[in-house]
């Protein structure tokens, strides 16, 4: 066990030594990997922030139920009890008189309203549903529309749906980007390891001749790939964090202009760890493919 740990430590030290032996090369590889990982990470982070921004802005997901004009008091209480039974969320009743008063209070509307022969506005219920998923809103709106004495149901979430579709598209794009750049990372590692093997061909050949197992030869190469991937992942985390830090103030200002209290969220420690792990894993993959191909060739 102790010998096993010792061998791994030696391999890790060997990998570190090789990384530091060509600092410029290593730095360039790290930067390339970092940039490759930055794009999907930043995209994912943007989506996450967008979801957060749209998810908790109140007053957006409302359903307005407009009654027919000649509706009676009994119909209104009937609808109220239906709403209660449907457990759709909270609601507010806006009587036609109240709506008219509201309209009169608006700038320049008073004269227009005064000139009307009778109140053209219907009674209305403004429902704020608990479940704000677009599908749930849609189905609620359909339910409401089927009730008696309901003239019109207006779902204020058309743009939410559009945004949702956009977010879903964004997610797909980020995923494709992720796959693309994961492939790039594997390729980059594959190539660095290939160059490394070329540079050490004499040493590897000799080691094989004097009793090194394939595992022994591959170990430092694997560590090198993992190390490069992890450091590349951390490099990407750094780039994304700096970028989001620069964006935070302007985005906050923009949000303020819309009356929202929104703070741009950067990468959490968990995100950074995940990035390092993913980078390490992909690095390992590239390195092991490269090493295995080489050993197959010389066997």
């Amino acid at each position: 066990m102790k010998a096993w740990i010792g061998q791994h430590l030696t391999a890790l030290r060997d990998a570190l030594r090789r990384l530091l032996a060509a600092p410029l090369n290593s730095l360039l590889s790290l930067l390339v990997i970092g940039v490759a990982l930055t794009l999907p990470t930043a995209g994912w982070l943007c989506l996450d922030n967008l979801r957060q921004a749209t998810g908790d802005s109140p007053g957006v997901q409302q359903i307005s139920i407009f009654m027919t004009l000649d509706v009676g008091k009994s119909a209104l209480s009937d609808l109220e009890s239906r709403l209660k039974d449907a457990r759709a969320g909270s609601w507010r009743f806006v009587s036609r008189e109240e709506a008219l008063k509201h309209l009169q209070a608006s700038e320049g509307m008073a004269e227009i309203v005064a000139s009307l022969p009778k109140n053209p506005l219907p009674d209305a219920f403004i429902v704020t549903p608990d479940d704000t998923r677009p599908e749930a809103l849609e189905s609620l709106a359909r339910t409401f529309a089927a009730w008696p004495d309901v003239a019109h149901v207006q779902l204020d979430s058309a743009w939410v749906r559009r945004l949702d579709a956009l977010l879903r598209l964004g997610k797909l794009v980020v995923m494709l980007l992720g796959i693309l750049f994961a492939g790039a990372l594997v390729t980059i590692t594959f190539n660095t390891i290939r160059l490394q093997i070329l540079a050490q061909a004499a040493e590897i050949e000799l080691a094989k001749l004097i009793g090194a197992t394939d595992a022994w030869i591959q170990r430092p190469l694997h560590y090198f790939g993992v190390l490069q991937g992890v450091l590349g992942g951390l490099c990407a985390a750094l780039l994304v964090t700096v970028g989001f830090h620069l964006l935070r103030a302007p985005v906050g200002e923009l949000a303020q202009l819309y009356g929202a209290n929104f703070v741009l969220q950067g990468l959490s420690p968990l995100d950074i760890t995940a990035l390092a792990v993913v980078g390490g894993g992909l690095g390992w993959l590239g390195a092991s493919i490269s090493a295995a191909m080489y050993l197959r060739r010389v066997a």
């Binding site: 010792g6 040493e203 000799l206 001749l209 009793g211 090194a212 394939d214 066997a299």
Partner: protein, 226 residues
């Protein structure tokens, strides 16, 4: 210890490098393998170390048939052998000490003990205090000693040396052979391939002579008169 029977080796390009070669080397023996250039000495060396596979015939090392060896068992066989290659195969970008440490690292010795053993091996071949130089700064004879130190640092039971005295003057060659003698005297089986038989003091050694891929086992007495 080493037993070869009816070894034939034909390289893909065609010519037979070895034809029907059989011999035995017992434990603790020191044997010279000699013959003209192209006689097949290096080929035989590679067959004994499982670097090449014979076209027919087989090799037993310690009773173990190399032909029956699985691919992943080969490294463990090699660790029992001390190999000195005709082209030496020193790592010129590593220090003398690092060169000797390599076999120990492969086996997985703890670092501190490995260092101690490597320094002892260097001292034994007459290269003390040179551990931090690069091999390029060593003379030909010193490089050969380094190759020997690397071969013996794992304390192998069998030492196979391919042309260890090539390109060395008579004195250096004699010193190298004296080192092999010393190993033989502590029980190591030594097999030295060389195209020119050295002048040796002490009892005449056993000589295996290869000629165009065929072997004649010269008795110790006949060694001086080819």
């Amino acid at each position: 210890m080493i037993s070869a029977s009816e070894l034939t080796k034909r390289y893909p390009e065609g010519r037979e490098a070895l034809r029907d070669v059989s011999f035995e080397i017992t434990a603790g023996e020191m044997v010279f393998l000699t013959g003209h250039s192209g006689a097949g000495k290096s080929t035989l060396f590679k067959l004994l170390a499982a670097i090449e596979r014979p076209t027919s015939g087989h090799v037993l090392i310690n009773g173990q048939n190399l032909a029956a060896l699985r691919r992943n068992a080969v490294p463990y066989l090699r660790r029992k052998l001390g190999l000195i290659f005709q082209d030496r195969k020193l790592l010129f970008d590593r220090t003398v000490l690092d060169n000797v440490l390599l076999p120990l690292a492969i086996v997985g010795h703890p670092v501190r003990e490995a260092r101690r053993r490597a320094l002892a091996a260097l001292a034994k071949v007459g290269l003390p205090d040179r551990e931090n130089t690069l091999p390029i700064a060593l003379s030909g004879g010193e490089q050969q000693r380094l190759a020997i130190a690397r071969a013996v640092v794992n304390r192998p039971a069998i030492l196979l040396a391919d042309e260890p005295t090539a390109n060395l003057d008579a004195d250096s060659a004699a010193e190298i052979l004296a080192i092999f003698r010393a190993f033989q005297q502590v029980g190591v089986t030594v097999c030295v391939a060389t195209h020119d038989l050295p002048v040796l003091s002490g009892p005449p050694p056993r000589v295996l002579r290869l000629h165009k891929g065929e072997m004649r086992d010269l008795s110790a007495a006949a060694a001086g008169t080819p």
